[in-house]
Subunit: 391 residues, 2 copies
Amino acid sequence: MKACGIIVEYNPFHNGHAYHIEKAREASKAEVIVAVMSGNFLQRGEPAIIDKWMRTAEALKNGADLVVELPFYWAVQSADYFARGGVKLLQALNCESLCFGTDSPSESDYQSFGEFTAANQQLIEQKYKEINQQHLSYSRQMTQVFQELYPSLHLDFSSPNHILGLSYAKENAQYEHPMSLLPIKRNVSKYNEEKIHQEFASATAVRNGAFKGQWGALKMVIPDQTLIDLTQKKLVSWEDYWPLLKYRLISSSYEELQQIYQMTEGIEYRLKEKALKAETFHQFIESVKTKRYTWTRLQRLAVYILTNISAEEIYQGWNNSYLNILGMTEKGQSYLKIQKKKSKLPILTKQMKNTEKYFKIGVKCDRIYQLGNNGIAEQNSGRFPIRIKNA
Amino acid sequence: MKACGIIVEYNPFHNGHAYHIEKAREASKAEVIVAVMSGNFLQRGEPAIIDKWMRTAEALKNGADLVVELPFYWAVQSADYFARGGVKLLQALNCESLCFGTDSPSESDYQSFGEFTAANQQLIEQKYKEINQQHLSYSRQMTQVFQELYPSLHLDFSSPNHILGLSYAKENAQYEHPMSLLPIKRNVSKYNEEKIHQEFASATAVRNGAFKGQWGALKMVIPDQTLIDLTQKKLVSWEDYWPLLKYRLISSSYEELQQIYQMTEGIEYRLKEKALKAETFHQFIESVKTKRYTWTRLQRLAVYILTNISAEEIYQGWNNSYLNILGMTEKGQSYLKIQKKKSKLPILTKQMKNTEKYFKIGVKCDRIYQLGNNGIAEQNSGRFPIRIKNA
């Protein structure tokens, strides 16, 4: 049985995601599509609009065969760590290929970039250290590093998808048996585009539409299951957690805030000061933002503060990676049965006493996610993978 | 100029409090009544129904001449520490007498109890240690200690006011110049009585009436200023802080919770477990309560958790006591002028850079108090003592 891996967020699942799965199946000729999906907190430092279980059901009903949770400590990260976690889980599940959407697809470009980075790790790290002294965002630093080291490569670091693709390539190239890379042209509006048109819209546009209740327009760009989920549940946004974040910042000492992952360079002073005056999360981030501390970087830091995550917890997570199965089709289940004997990481389908060390961080973060909305169901204890029949 | 001290909470100010001030003036023959008043968190571990500034104005308009804040680290405490702080501040302001309400008044009883405790400190501490091994509440322990050591004394430890009176006597007897003790019979319904009748009602009854909007009945038992304050402001209760407390308990590790003042004997495990299931503060305390952990003790612990107060902060507070002036009449102001030269503690009338060490804990706790209700005004920065003319 051949499997093709994809690394996703589905916040929420829309037609562009269904198209991606379809293309992945075509390009890979795999029988099984394995989706590694962020849980309840997302790569760019946001709570998911609906919970991981609903997003899993949407994916399974629209082409995915197996949905595995990308744990918090990999998911809420800049592109490089997000890619490291995603590729690690797909490798552990022995996927033969990795299919990802991009705005500038060129299989050989990604391939050669991956090989270059695998061969020049020390050189790249060295360059990063040099660049790091300048006050630039991560993607600006990455642009500089590779413009100097590898000028022949086409680089578009203003596109988050292009950065992600390159990060996948870089991670994948480190493994003994790299997956074949299948970049596909994204058939959706640009990542951040906010309007809905025709059959496809970005997840950002879908979320905006959902918060505004534009169900007529949304119907055209999301599958039935997503429409049901969005209309029947309270939709979650950062504002739901703002009172808790503000409280945490006001009630914690500088010493306590310094224990938080990524709390560096004295940013805790600025955060505490601005939290006092801000009335909304939006106001807060707007008032803290600088060239160096971009919106996304601050949002991620805000998630770390909200979830009270220390650097030690993140490192512990990295050293205790596991496969948390959120759902599967019958085909996915057959594939999983084979992998249970072969996988290098533990495959978990429920929370148990003896697997506590794996679930610890996830359980904490999910409980905090639940505080944003009384209507969110228990996320871990007593939950089993969603199973659906293949169409 | 002679001053009589009283130690109060005014949550909120009612006719019984006005009666107490009137009797204090009569019994002491003092020109000035100095009220040491809890701030925004109260002795029994509750947020004040309205803020300390409003309660100060109520007191000044109804007989008090000087209102001084009893800082958090003295106020949110069992009777013995509450009394220690209150007596300390009144001593620093050179009050000649201390007048307090009680259900069983006997000047000589309090006097002799104070003298007995001052003379037998080591013996009492020794007895406490013996008793402490049994799983009893603080007042039950105190009953046992003194029934064994001082059986001739009339003791009614089921009355909070009687315990407080004895604690005042005990503290006062330690000073070189003890204040004369003026116990007066309380002319109000019993401490916890919930019904309103005639001219007097307990503060508990007033709060219940206010939450139910029983303004007709309340008018009879509270002065005009209190009625205005209660009807014009959102009333604060523990439920307003429950989402924050629940979040703090869920998001903190056991190690972090163990840093909280009074978090002993592994109670943090029980608190974290019960917080998950409770939907209200009331449900939460009800589910944690045991014989040893009474409602009041748990409420106080909940305030320490909410305000994230460590034992170190409390001890620092004790060692940096100060007089935070909340308000005064003209007479109060004249008295204060004299005390500025004589007082052993710093007298502060506004928050300044060089007095930060005094205000630190108070500012933190007040900011958290403000989170319970958007309508609460800034409590410290830029605030000056309330001044009113004598009638």
